[in-house]
């Protein structure tokens, strides 16, 4: 069910401010693509155009094309709500719904979309999603407890479970581990490994080692200068990026000489 993504000539604006310019990129289905680059270069901005979350911000808009298996996301006939069901997202800070139990959190995507689920179906969905997020064993005895009661890493996995419960085809992750301790981080990284069997995953990370560990392809974004828009400098298989990148800027960034 995973899908590939084709981005062509994408310009991303916040009002009049051009934040990211001229991105062309192809993201392979059932693989992990990492987005790296210095702060402010537009990684998050770009990521959010892939499920039309960008336009949630007032005044924000895009020019250009994003195709998911050939279907254009920004077609006027396309309902952004439907897009977001197809393209799930996990955020930097874990954000379970504080008023809901663990069980309800997992079901939130389905329930809020008016799916009438029988109790046994719902149980099945919850178990499947939590297992998928490697969280089942830790929480199966306290499903009715508030989701906020979990540790940070558990909360993040709960958010992943919540995202995959609606069975998206693509999963976007914006620095999913940056608020987590090393143990939780490695739990999430393991999870990403498993998830890519089924999902197309795009992950933003500041941690070069993480990019190297989890991704097949890496895209390096950079700013051409202060006040200039961010742009895609280079996209290549991760191995190549971390050994012999095409661009000098990539090399400089990866070796830690700036950023």
């Amino acid at each position: 069910m995973a899908k590939s993504i084709d981005v062509s000539d994408l310009n991303i604006y916040y009002g009049d401010f051009l934040a990211v310019e001229g991105v062309n990129m192809t993201i392979t289905a059932r693989s992990v693509t990492a987005l790296i680059g210095p702060s402010g270069c537009g990684k998050s901005t770009f990521l959010r155009t892939l499920n039309r979350m960008h336009e949630v911000i007032p005044g924000a808009r895009v020019e250009g094309k994003v195709l998911v298996d050939g279907q254009s996301l920004y077609d006027s006939a396309v309902d952004p709500v439907e897009v977001r069901r197809m393209v799930g997202m996990v955020f930097q800070r874990p954000n379970p719904f504080p008023t809901m139990s663990i069980y309800e959190n997992v079901l939130a995507g389905l329930r809020l979309n008016n799916k009438k689920l029988s109790k046994s179906d719902a149980d099945a969905v919850v178990e499947k999603a939590l297992r998928g997020a490697n969280l089942w064993n830790e929480v199966k005895d306290r499903l009715t407890k508030p989701g906020m009661g979990l540790s940070g890493g558990q909360q993040q996995r709960l958010c992943i479970a919540r995202a995959i419960a609606v069975e998206p085809q693509i999963l976007l992750m914006d620095e999913p581990c940056s608020a987590l301790d090393p143990i939780s981080t490695s739990a999430i990284e393991d999870l990403i490994h498993e998830l890519k069997e089924q999902y197309t995953i795009v992950i933003v990370t500041h941690n070069m080692q993480q990019a190297a560990r989890v991704s097949e392809d890496t895209a390096f974004f950079n700013l051409a200068g202060a006040g200039k828009p961010g742009r895609l400098v280079e996209m290549n298989p991760t191995k190549k990026i971390f050994s012999v990148p095409d661009e000098e800027a990539t090399e400089a960034y990866i070796s830690g000489r700036f950023g």
Partner: protein
């Protein structure tokens, strides 16, 4: 670097050890000031208030001068301001204590079984009850809440979620702020003028009071709800959108439930704020001494109006009615305080559990 400032040696010689007053200096000054003032006052036959005022003046002057002599001018100023701050706090709290004490002292005598269960119908020459006024107050306030809460909450949702940066929202936000300052009597006149034109001249009934109070209540509800909605992290909205949930459902199922504790607290405080209003009800609800539970017909009693009426027009049994007025004031204050406490409790009760 040119050397233009005083010679370094001079500065280096400055000691960090200044003579300082003992730590308990303010206490000593206070005791001495109070004692001196009391002594003076008792010999000259002053009352408590002049003694208090003079004691405060002695304290301010005494401590400042002492510090001026032992410490230095800057320290003296600092002590003067510190003392002024504490004195002003004391001055502000004395009336509160006096008021509460007076209400309790005068009001407790009125409290008995009949007081809360009887009305004033057919009661002459003996203490009656304020059941009719309590019911009136509760009904009118309930009506005000029923009008204000949906309008206020929805308007807050508009301000935070939909209008956000629009010109309209800016105006609404601004005018809501301005509206918090509408005099209550004007709200009463508005309701009176409104229903005079709609229903007929001179109409007085409970729902009119509800409308008048809601003019006072809506801005409070909007402001507090807006603050609470703004506190809901954008994260949560995005999480919900990212699950493919439409905006309106996100607001109803995620944003509002998350803010619920704060909203309820705000509404409760708004109720506490308007439940003691007198002036508008005097104009639009009138008064009666019987129980009237029909908001849409006939004059309706309320606690504040009962207090006002009983105290200012006690008729032929002034002692009885004045005592009842104090009793009703005590009940009213208790209700308001209970609402304030309730607001806190509800806030705790509805706030999202973290489950420890």
């Amino acid at each position: 670097m040119t050397d233009l400032a005083p010679a370094p040696t001079e500065r280096a010689a400055r000691s960090i050890k200044n003579p300082r007053l003992p730590q308990y200096a303010p206490l000593i000054a206070l005791v001495v000031a109070v004692a001196a003032s009391a002594l003076l006052g008792l010999t000259l036959g002053w009352g408590v208030i002049p003694i208090g005022i003079v004691a405060a003046i002695f304290y301010l002057i005494g401590l400042t001068t002492w510090s001026r002599i032992i410490e230095n001018a800057r320290a003296a100023t600092d002590r003067l301001v510190t003392s002024l701050v504490w004195v002003s706090l004391t001055i502000a709290l004395i009336p509160l204590v006096s008021l509460l004490w007076k209400v309790i002292d005068e009001g407790k005598g009125a409290l008995n079984g009949k007081f809360l269960t009887y009305s004033m119908r057919n009661v002459i020459g003996e203490p009656g009850g304020i059941y009719h006024a309590i019911m009136g107050t509760l009904l009118i306030t309930l009506a005000a809440a029923v009008i204000s809460v949906p309008i206020g909450l929805l308007a807050a949702v508009y301000l935070v979620e939909y209008g956000a940066h629009s010109q309209l929202a800016r105006w609404i936000r601004f005018l809501v702020d301005v509206m918090t300052g509408i005099p209550s009597i004007v709200a009463g006149l508005f309701a009176y003028a409104l229903f005079s034109l709609i229903v007929g001249p001179g109409t007085q009934f409970g729902i009119g009071g509800g409308v008048a109070l809601s003019i006072l209540m809506i801005p409070i509800v909007v402001r507090s709800s807006e603050e609470m909605l703004k506190l809901v992290p954008a994260d949560l909205r995005e999480a919900s959108y990212a699950l493919g949930v439409p905006k309106w459902k996100t607001i109803l199922k995620v944003v509002i439930p998350t803010a619920m504790a704060g909203i309820i607290t705000g509404v409760t405080l708004a109720i506490a704020r308007v439940i003691g209003e007198t002036a508008p009800l005097l104009i639009i609800c009138g008064a009666t001494d019987s129980v009237n539970l029909n908001l849409f017909h006939g004059q309706m009693a309320s606690l504040p109006v009962f207090i006002y009426g009983s105290y200012t027009q006690p008729g032929s049994n002034p002692e009885i009615l004045k005592q009842m007025a104090w009793g009703a004031a005590l009940i009213l204050i208790l209700i308001v305080m209970a609402l304030n406490i309730l607001a806190r409790v509800l806030g705790k009760l509805f706030s999202p559990k973290t489950g420890h």
